[in-house]
Symmetry: none
Subunit: 419 residues, 2 copies
């Protein structure tokens, strides 16, 4: 049996040929395949034309071991992937009755009859294996084609990602001859990419010459800088140990800007700190308008430590709901450290939490002044640990709000770190 | 001479086949080509393998009028685009002396001698026209291949975008016979994709046979369903009128689930409704944890109508900060319509807003019961318009929270629509 080593990814959908949408599923798929040592050689985006898709499938199968198609499995006439694959492989399409039942049930649970066109989603090319979709109606399909593999996945990322991780990867890994890739991610916050690289490069560059070389890539991602480490080897090597050593050296050089080396997000790290100390938190937000609380409560189980908060967009609400003294607002302005501290104290006391955190700033595009330009954000932490700081963030409204949320989470984290 | 109508885009570079980088140049190119009525039929990403790239070029030229290649024009051995194009077209590569001089000068200005391998950047396939690069060393190349066109552009966005706008588009537009493309987007909320399609397809399918055909694509995007319409015609046709007619017919058939036909997002639509009526809004959130307020305040200028809100994650906060009667919580549970209404009333009165909106539900993964499974969300609107409703959303925590936010925004919108 052929050892699976090369792959192509074909994304199907006219929307991916517009200026508005881009195929990002292939990034996730590439990462997953990489972990099994399967190399992506080409990526293609095709529209809803069955003839073009059919030719693309035939061409790809002449080149690589694994062909992964994403999208085009919906219920409408536009969704041509099933038909194109069946035609390209010269196989008939059959209705899969258990799948049809599942789709009907899914609609029934929402108290709706199944529209007739959803019936198409139960069609499977001869010899295909159904991949269960736990997050949607369209099942995936696995097809063995001689000693090659064709996989059809639904386009919506959450459907595709679950199916890829739970179902497709174990099947592929069984056929890669033991090669595998491992990754680690070091996440940092508080320093720009160039400074992080200046500190880390002298440590990670020599790792390219280790017996099992470790490769490092630096990525800037939504208000934080990440170092992605990877190494490839067969089963005889202790890859985990190699990467753990690498992570320890680099994280040691970077110091307290590192908030995670185990995949946890910043809100997860903060949540774990609070849980360990049996502490609760409440937040008062002005310019971030609820996004900080939204991030804190993204974490499953966060109701253990998040009490809630107040979004005080209008000044009167800072006074009425948080007990900020009108004199403070008049003397220092709404965007100031004394007001941030008063908001943090107010939300902590009124919501009966152990820790209060407050954000007040100017997200723009308007509202900036000469002394407090757009991007000025005051953040305060109140409670057993205290901190207050004024940031000047750059970027548009969205980016300023994002950085303010990250900054507030990081101030809570650091308050405990430097305790 | 062939009128140029179809295109393919090939992005060259091994980094674009990693999990870390994606080809975004094609979005810019697609938008530019679209404005000239040139339709992108396929997009491909290939690595640095000359044989694969050569075959991709030959295949593409058999299908479309315009082939645009991006990247692979650098000075290193990895940069194979020039060679692959020359081989695919059976043309020799010549050194272009004026280009070589320009590259030498560029280095001289920075006080460096030109590295010998940069000489490669002055190679041009027989018959090629140099496209000046005002932002870098690698020139672009325009090639007429019988009555088709092949264009080579450098990968860095700044270099590519200037060259595309200033040099490539005027050449292409001269050969499109005055054709151009216009787009419209119809956004809906409250019905699944298949139901939207069932309602809309009988209206949009016949539009393919209109004198100027209108093409429609349906897209599911973060809790809403969008219909993307486009039409292509030459200068003699009133394209805007054609698309306006199409939008009116489809939106008419879909009714009140349509919230926008002019590009506005749901929070923008709700914000405009509030502003028109000189109304303010406040929100009380439990399971959405601040995300509803976060979405409302995403809109620049939202401080005109958003007062703020209370995130009442813990029950005691629903009582203390929103005035929800403990008896209501005991009798009906935190996730219930009476509690949602009390929260909406409470936040409206306490924050002195005209409209109050409240969300209380079970986002999961834990916390569900037999009668109130994960995904159960009660939403209420209080004020001059009132509404309350219980939803059963499917999906994971993130998706349930997203749908709850969208549902709440939509209930505010509908309250006014059905006023």
């Amino acid at each position: 049996m052929r050892t699976l080593a090369t792959a192509e990814i074909v994304a199907v959908g006219a929307e991916l040929l517009t200026p508005f949408r881009i195929d990002t599923n292939s990034l996730f798929i590439t990462r997953q395949l990489g972990q099994a040592g399967i190399d992506v050689r080409m990526k293609t985006v095709v529209g809803d034309e069955i003839a073009e898709l059919k030719r693309t499938i035939v061409d790809a199968l002449a080149r690589v071991d694994v062909l992964i198609l994403t999208g085009g499995l919906g219920p409408t006439e536009d969704d041509v992937t099933r038909d194109a694959v069946a035609q390209a492989l010269g196989r008939a399409l059959h209705e899969h009755s258990a799948t049809l039942d599942r789709i009907r049930e899914r609609f029934a649970r929402r108290g709706m009859p199944m529209p007739e066109n959803n019936r198409r989603q139960a069609l499977v090319p001869e010899g295909g294996t159904i991949l269960l979709n736990t997050n949607g109606t369209a099942p995936g399909i696995w097809l063995d084609v001689d000693d090659r593999v064709v996989v059809l996945l639904p386009g919506p990322p959450r459907e595709l990602e679950a199916m890829m991780t739970d179902d497709v990867m174990p099947r592929l890994v069984a056929r890669t001859g033991g090669r595998r890739l491992e990754r680690r991610v070091i996440r940092t916050i508080g320093r720009p990419e160039s400074q992080v690289d200046e500190l880390a490069a002298p440590i990670y560059l020599p790792m390219l010459d280790w017996p099992v070389p470790v490769r490092t890539t630096i990525l800037a991602a939504s208000g934080q800088i990440e170092l992605h480490l990877s190494a490839i080897a067969d089963g005889s090597v202790d890859l985990a140990r190699t990467l753990d050593d690498a992570v320890q050296s680099i994280a040691g050089a970077l110091g307290s800007i590192v908030f995670s080396t185990d995949g946890r997000s910043l809100p997860e790290v903060v949540g774990d700190q609070l849980r360990q100390r049996d502490c609760t938190i409440a937040a008062a937000e002005s310019c971030t308008g609820g996004l900080l609380l939204g991030r804190l409560t993204d974490v499953p189980g966060s109701s253990d430590y998040v009490r809630g908060g107040v979004v005080a967009y209008a000044n009167q609400i800072k006074i009425d709901q948080l007990g900020v003294a009108p004199a403070l607002l008049e003397s220092f302005g709404a965007v100031s450290e004394p007001v941030a501290e008063a908001m943090a104290d107010g939300v902590r006391v009124r919501l009966n939490a152990d820790v209060g955190v407050a954000v007040t700033g100017i997200a723009g595009p308007s509202g900036g002044t000469a002394t407090k330009p757009v991007g000025t954000v005051a953040i305060a932490v109140a409670g057993p640990v205290r901190a207050v700081r004024t940031f000047r963030f750059l970027g548009d409204r969205q980016l300023i709000r994002l950085q303010a949320v990250q900054g507030a989470l990081d101030m809570v984290r650091r308050a405990w770190v430097t305790e």
